[in-house]
């Protein structure tokens, strides 16, 4: 049977783009708005744009944060999705899900914020980055970031080295947008399908 990938639908995600990307890979991703929608899912995509605390509050209203934490299959948090999976964020003093024991910080320094555009990845590790060459360019749009951590499976340089992707058990997070990152992005999504 074909696997069922569902996208967490909490009105704070770039759902259309993620669905389109999976369609180009020949897979129709479903949507999950309530905890019971997760029952027949094999994998989850946890997207996110916007404000951390506002997004977290929407998730909590429907107990979706608990449902994601309890999910047994692979989960891929994208951008804000990844940040919500961390311990906490400086953005609105948000308390996260604690799936990654990291604190999300705001970029500050003598450079432009948001970090916006195509930047290169290095230190690629693990199955999510199979067949993705070192120094591949992917698309970032964010003002907050996860500092370099031991759970990083990809790093990026902007002011300092930061965590571009991380994993712990079945949970994965990417700070960039694979669904908007051309060829390397599509490879990463294919790798997630193949996990």
């Amino acid at each position: 049977m074909k696997q069922q990938i569902k996208i967490i639908d909490y009105k704070a995600g770039n759902i259309a783009s993620v669905r389109h990307a999976f369609r180009r890979l020949g897979l129709e991703a479903g949507l999950a708005a309530f905890p019971e929608d997760l029952e027949d899912a094999d994998k989850l995509i946890f997207p996110g744009v916007g404000h951390a605390r506002a997004a977290m509050n929407i998730l909590k209203e429907k107990d979706m944060d608990q449902a994601i934490k309890a999910f047994k299959g692979p989960v891929l948090g994208i951008c804000l999705g990844m940040q919500l999976m961390a311990d906490s964020s400086e953005e609105g003093d948000m308390q996260g899900m604690g799936l990654f024991p990291d604190k999300i910080k705001r970029f500050s320094g003598d450079f432009k914020v948001p970090h916006m555009g195509w930047n290169s990845l290095y230190g690629l590790e693990g199955p999510l980055f199979a067949n993705v060459p070192e120094a591949s360019h992917v698309y970032f749009v964010h003002s907050y970031y996860m500092p370099k951590s031991s759970r990083a499976i990809a790093l990026c340089q902007y002011g300092e080295a930061f965590t571009a992707a991380c994993s712990k058990d079945q949970f994965f997070g990417v700070q960039f947008h694979p669904e908007k990152s051309g060829k390397p992005g599509m490879q990463i999504l294919q790798n997630f399908i193949d996990l």
Binding site: A16, S17, G50, G117, S143, H177, K180, G182, G185
Partner: protein, 250 residues
């Protein structure tokens, strides 16, 4: 290293791409979805789609174009044209747009910038500023360049950042369509004085113009329309020129 971005812009009227000079004299420039797919293939870093009719009854045509472009490309894109409230932004984002750009409505209602940035995040809010050189001063113009405001471009650029803009799309009305190069002085003045990325627009005609706007203009990205639609220069041609001059591009 963060690369400089090349952004083709598609002005869309009634479902077709059009291109004019100094915001007028429109010519048909093809199907927007085909163009978007072609630019994505050719190495565009991002796309901008502007609804230049932006009347209520034509809105659904534009929404369909947004959805079709989102399905066809795997690069980010910004949409703009006549956006005046949160509800419209929500609809555009739900069709697959990554960012929205606001222009005239933000001049009328500067609070709009803050409301959008609070609701959707600052990374999502591009403020488009059209600047025109009048008696030695760069003033903001509105309504597709037809109305001159009293605002100085640099002052307005700083203000929109304070209000929550995540990026500025700075178009030189003076240079637009000329193919004589970007307006470097105002681009640099804005880029040096705001904390967010600046996209320079208006006047691109040669690969050297892009080098100039990145080095002298200090822009983070450069946008062009006509030269791409009519295949005057290719995106890869610009990028290889930039690489030769040690500018980081994708």
């Amino acid at each position: 290293m963060l690369t400089k971005r090349i952004i083709p812009c598609l002005d869309i009227k009634e479902g077709r791409t059009v291109k004019g000079v100094n915001f007028g004299n429109l010519r048909d420039a093809g199907d927007p979805v085909e163009l978007a797919a072609r630019y994505s293939e050719e190495g565009a870093d991002e796309l901008t789609l502007l609804d230049i009719t932006a009347t209520l009854e034509k809105r659904s045509t534009f929404l369909q174009v947004v959805e079709d472009v989102a399905a066809a490309v795997s690069i980010p894109f910004t949409v703009g044209g006549g956006i005046a409230n949160e509800h419209e932004v929500e609809k555009l984002l739900s069709k697959g747009a990554d960012k929205v750009s606001v222009n005239t409505a933000s001049l009328r209602d500067p609070e709009l910038i803050t409301r959008l940035s609070d609701a959707f995040g600052d990374q999502c809010v591009v403020v488009a500023i059209d600047a025109r050189l009048i008696d030695g001063e760069w003033l903001v113009v509105s309504h597709a360049g037809t109305r001159i405001t009293e605002r100085k471009t640099i002052d307005w650029a700083k203000e929109v950042c304070d209000r929550g803009a995540g990026e500025i799309l700075l178009t030189s009305f003076t240079a637009d369509g000329s193919r004589n190069g970007f307006s470097l002085d105002i681009t640099r003045e804005v880029a040096e004085n705001v904390p967010v990325p600046v996209i320079a627009s208006g006047g691109a005609g040669l690969p050297a113009h892009f080098l100039d706007v990145f080095v002298e203009g200090m822009a983070d990205a450069a946008l062009a329309a006509g030269i791409f639609h009519y295949q005057v220069i290719g995106i890869e041609e610009i990028k290889s020129f930039l690489r030769k001059h040690k500018i980081a591009v994708r």
